[in-house]
Amino acid sequence: MIGRLVKHQLRNVLRSRWVFVLTGFFLVFTEAMYQASGSAAGMEVTLMSVVLIILPLFSIVYGTMYVYGSREFLEVLAAQPLRRRDIYFSSWLVVTGAISGCFLVGSGVPLLAHRIGDGAMGGPLTLLASGLFLTIIFTAIAFAVAIRVHDRTRGMGVALLLWFFFALLYDGVVLFAFYALADYPVEPLALAFSFLNPVDLARILLTLQFDVSALMGYTGAVYQRFFGGAVGMLLSAAALTVWTVIPLWMGKRFFARTDF
């Protein structure tokens, strides 16, 4: 049933103008960065901020708006002989699939095209994978918030606050804490903290990939040693998966209990 629900809802979403606008934005921005920096490496480093800041922002804003805008339609669906679980997962899949698609096509095409020559696919693939994960996670957070908070304005406020916390504030707080504790060996703790924020985790993976970790001094070296190994990679992939599952599961619970 999820498949059928996805088919019909996806048809609706793919006819929206924003799908083309967003794909165009990624395409033009990525190519412009290549032209401006003159190298594929420059394009990839610049695209990091899009993946870490803009993509989560768009995902959380659009995901929240989608739920509020579709409330009456979700009511029509919930009145049919369907499982609420199927309605919830299909709606989320459509939103996350559409945004991911825009990013993968818009940024993926120039990213991969400019690397075909030298075959160094590690950077582009890490960028695309991180973007994909962050889209999945932030749309899931958006769904959980918009289903739980009935008031549209308050819900959007909470969603934006969460984005602000994960994308910007968290780093500042952690940095301040480490600055205050500079005399102590806090590097292992820094590692643990990075798992508590998906944006941080993606940032570290990308930083290591682009070999700029040397700029981070001893912490960079600790990260390099940990994430460079198979255990680190597996753990970070597991952490990102947990970050996807928790908001999705919460959203599903909220959706099962919500009143239309």
């Binding site: 019909h8 579709s70 009456e72 239309f260």
Partner: protein, 277 residues
């Protein structure tokens, strides 16, 4: 066949339903009436599983259903606010509903003709007026030959011709022995269609019976007057009540829901000389 048993539902501090029990008789048409905010829509939505009650049970065949989905297979529901995926056409939307329900609709063409939508099928839903959306909603509901129909203020957005056609279609279902539950503020619809009235006020049932019983209880012969009397009496007897003014023993104060102040005062054992806002 279906009903609500001792349903309590609050939204924040607002109590929408306060121990509501209703039996919707099989093969009859029940009108769920009450002022705005009295809990009509909440009661309908509780029946459908769209609102989760804090307490109480929804009854299907006299017992709490084990599978909500199976219950909804037998119900065709027309919501109050019609909003659909904007970029789908009417044809695609109706096909989607048909695709999601286990049984296929049997009267799509007939209903499209009845509500004059056949020519609009390729149009996207986003360009449609409120009335046309309501017609789409009517087709979505009536294209199914369902044993139970639930309509939430179905004729509110329809023009007189379409409202007439809608009522004719519903009357046919009623004659065929379907169980129909609807809410409406249009008294003509109630007098014409309903044979069972449930009146809600502030989340509680204050009347449950036939239209004739309502007339007999109130001494009126028109639904509008009978309902005004019901509200007035309830205003005199319920928690909003008629409260004597603190400043002057010759004045009485009414709740906001009171429409017929004279009847309300009568019910409270007082005769009014003057009514001031």
């Amino acid at each position: 066949m279906i009903g609500l048993s001792d349903i309590v539902k609050s939204f924040g501090r607002e109590r929408a339903l306060d121990g509501v029990s209703i039996d919707f008789p099989v093969g009859r048409m029940t009108a769920l009436l009450g002022p705005n905010g009295s809990g009509k829509t909440t009661a309908l939505k509780t029946l459908l599983g769209l609102v989760r009650p804090d307490r109480g049970t929804v009854l299907w065949n006299g017992a709490a259903p084990t599978d909500e989905r199976a219950v909804r297979e037998h119900i065709s529901y027309m919501p109050q606010i019609a909003r659909f995926p904007e970029n789908l056409t009417i044809r695609e939307f109706l096909a989607m509903i048909a695709d999601l329900r286990p049984r296929q609709p049997t009267r799509t063409e007939e209903m499209l003709a009845r509500f004059e939508l056949a020519d609009l099928l390729p149009k996207p839903l986003k360009g449609l007026s409120g009335g046309t959306r309501q017609r789409v909603c009517a087709v979505m509901t009536l294209m199914y030959d369902a044993p139970v129909y639930i309509f939430d203020e179905p004729t509110a957005g329809l023009d007189p011709l379409m409202a007439r056609r809608f009522k004719d279609a519903v009357a046919r279902e009623k004659a065929a022995g379907k169980t129909i539950i609807f809410t409406s503020h249009i008294m003509g619809d109630i007098e014409e269609l309903a044979d069972h009235i449930v009146f809600l006020l502030e989340g509680a049932v204050v009347f449950d019976g036939t239209l004739d019983a309502l007339y007999a209880r109130t001494g009126e012969h028109a639904a509008e007057d009978a309902i005004a009397v019901l509200i007035a009496r309830a205003g005199g007897n319920t928690r909003s009540g008629i409260a004597p003014s603190a400043s002057d023993g010759n004045q009485i104060r009414f709740s906001d829901t009171v429409i017929d102040h004279h009847a309300a005062a009568d019910a409270g054992g007082t005769r009014l000389r003057e009514v001031r806002a």
